[in-house]
Amino acid sequence: MLALLGIAAIGQRAFLTLWRQPVLVVSTMIFPLVYLVVLGNAMNRPLESVPLAVVDEAGNAYSAECRRGVLALETGRRLVTASFVGDRASALDGLRRGRYRGVWILPFGLSPRGPAPSFIADNTDRFSVETLERALRQVWQEVSAPRDVAPAAAAVQLDAYPYLDYLTYLGPAVVCLAIFMGSMVSGGLQVLEDRMFGYHEGYLVTPITTGTLVAGNVLAGALVASLAGGLVLAAILVITPLSVAGGTSVAAAAATVFLTSTAIAALWFLLFARARSASLLRGMFGIINVLLFFPSGALYPVESYPSWLLSISAVDPLTYGVRALRNLLLRGAAPRAVFSDWVFLATFTVVSGVLTKVLFRREV
């Protein structure tokens, strides 16, 4: 009997505790829905608007047909965003910079007997590559098939980069996930926990300014997150075949990890600047996880997202971290290529920090 009473008492307390914190109830109920909506829209959607460059070196009837086929893909199925580029070199350069996901070259003398089109794919994005390759092959088959007896020359596909398995492809995503997890255990969230125990009284009475408090906590959170991200970065450099990464790329990757960490740490502090209890954090963690991680394009290409999800991606520091790391580690880009990402991350950190300082109430 005593056991039953004890169980009932604990159950009653748990229920009342939850019920008296309506925010917690709402966020707990909403979280699975958010997960479903975001995930459903972020992944497994039909691929859309994949940037493709087409280089027409043939200038004949077949290449014109091919070009029409690509336009059909663009306007009808909306699979691609096509750019018709004049010369091969600038198309490939765009590919290297990540502007195009693939380059379809229609060589001089294009004909069903050969030479056939060449498709150079950004194989760091396997989802896009497979679908694109299939669609373009179909276009070529339709263009080449009805006019000849001899079998059409097989379309050529080349990989722009050395072969990547899925694990390697996921590398940047996992680094960013580590940064995210690391940012949770320190920094601004520590202040929230301090409020629960009264520790915050100890430093709120000292002469340190609110600005110092914010800067110190953001830096602390960033260091912990950088440590986590850095460890995972080191691990993937060791265990996956990243042959394109040179010394400067690795250094730039480390800098990217640090900048992403500061941005995420600043974001956490901002989100909870006015919060009074840590239970709010527990309720919101799941939702924030989903809202930050999945829209970042870590697992699935960003171009396919609906516009409302794209707007989240645009302000999500992880998006820029993932993109920069992909460019540096998988595409072997020079550090210069990710400067714009760095600028965004740094600006994001500063703006968040200033907002936090303004919002933070320095009273007990």
Binding site: F197, G198, Y199, E201, G202, Y203, L204, V205, T206, P207, I208, T209, E363, V364
Partner: protein
């Protein structure tokens, strides 16, 4: 130009919605003085301390610490004060020394100056041997001593102690009282303000006390003066070998005894003004009349009696519902 007093409080009030925690509190503390705020739980002591240490803004009234306004010159106030609050503000994952190092940096201390101060204060509170010990492993009394070291590390001009010995065993309490004495002798200009609900603490430590109840100051003076001004503070119990006659009963009343009560013909108890030795005079009177005093108890007036005389309640009871 006289230098500003350490603490000047003028009609300071704090409301939480309709509930008035502190109601137009006014007082002042001189340098080198230990000023006590004595009152039951819920009297508004902690709220008052929080306002004076810039942790909570007042709803009306002003206060100045070393001449700096607590609302308009918060940084200056924070630099001048040290606080030992009821909450545990030492980080349990840091050692004693690390806790002080972190604290010192927030006051702009560093390098050798910081190290020397840490050593000085740890020795002063008797924790130097345990400087490398994680705070979580220190006992309650030691932890409290560490908090005090933390509060005085930066040599504040004013020290706020919010219930410094609550929850400690009598031995630790004594040790901390002795430590305050030492702090004071090392720094005679230091003004200390102390809140407590234990009358022995207020009586023992404070130069002056304000008795607080339901957000208001009831009276303010030195402990001795407060007790002396009570009309009926001393309680006397007398037991004689034979019944006390009517005539002698009147004689007892004439000596200045009040509330005379006879539990039995040989047992009398009464109250008297403290300091007039009424109890001894009554005993002397009875002896002269030929009685033999079997038993004599004189209980001196306490601050508890002072509180009771103002509020009709004991210090330890909860205040009446608003």
């Amino acid at each position: 130009m006289t230098s500003p007093r350490p603490i000047e409080v003028e009609r300071l009030s704090r409301k939480f919605g309709d509930f008035v925690a502190d109601d137009e509190i006014s007082f002042a503390v001189a340098p080198g003085e230990i000023y006590g705020l004595l009152g039951p739980n819920g009297a508004g002591k902690t709220t008052l301390i929080r306002m004076l240490t810039t942790l909570l803004p007042p709803t009306s009234g002003t206060a100045r610490i070393e001449g700096h306004d607590i609302v308009r010159e918060k940084s200056a106030v924070r630099r001048a004060i040290g606080t030992v609050s009821q909450a545990q503000t030492t980080d349990e994952n840091l050692t004693a020394r690390e806790n002080l190092a972190v604290q010192g940096k927030m006051y702009g201390l560093w390098g050798r100056a910081l190290r020397e101060r840490i050593e000085h204060r740890l020795k002063q509170v008797g924790l130097w041997e345990r400087r490398g010990q994680i705070a979580r492993h220190l006992s309650g009394g030691m932890r409290r001593r560490l908090e005090i070291a933390r509060g005085v590390l930066h040599r504040p001009r004013v020290l706020f102690l919010d219930e410094p010995t609550t929850g400690l065993d009598p031995q630790s309490r004594r040790a901390i009282w002795d430590m305050f004495g030492e702090l004071r002798s090392h720094d005679p200009e230091l003004a200390i303000i102390l809140t407590t609900h234990q009358m022995e603490e207020a009586d023992h430590l404070c130069d002056r006390i304000a008795i607080l109840d339901a957000g208001k100051i009831l009276c303010e003076d030195s402990p001795a003066a407060l007790k002396r001004d009570l009309a009926t503070g001393e309680r006397v119990e007398l037991e004689t070998d034979r019944a006390i006659s009517e005539e002698d009963r009147r004689g007892i009343a004439d000596e200045g005894a009040s509330d005379v009560r006879f539990d039995s013909p040989t047992h009398v108890s009464f109250t008297a003004r403290p300091g007039e030795a009424t109890g001894r005079r009554v005993a002397r009177l009875l002896e002269l009349e030929g009685y033999h005093i079997v038993h004599l108890t004189i209980a001196l007036a306490t601050l508890e009696d002072v509180f009771f005389s103002y509020t009709g309640r004991a210090l330890r009871e909860a205040p009446p519902a608003p």
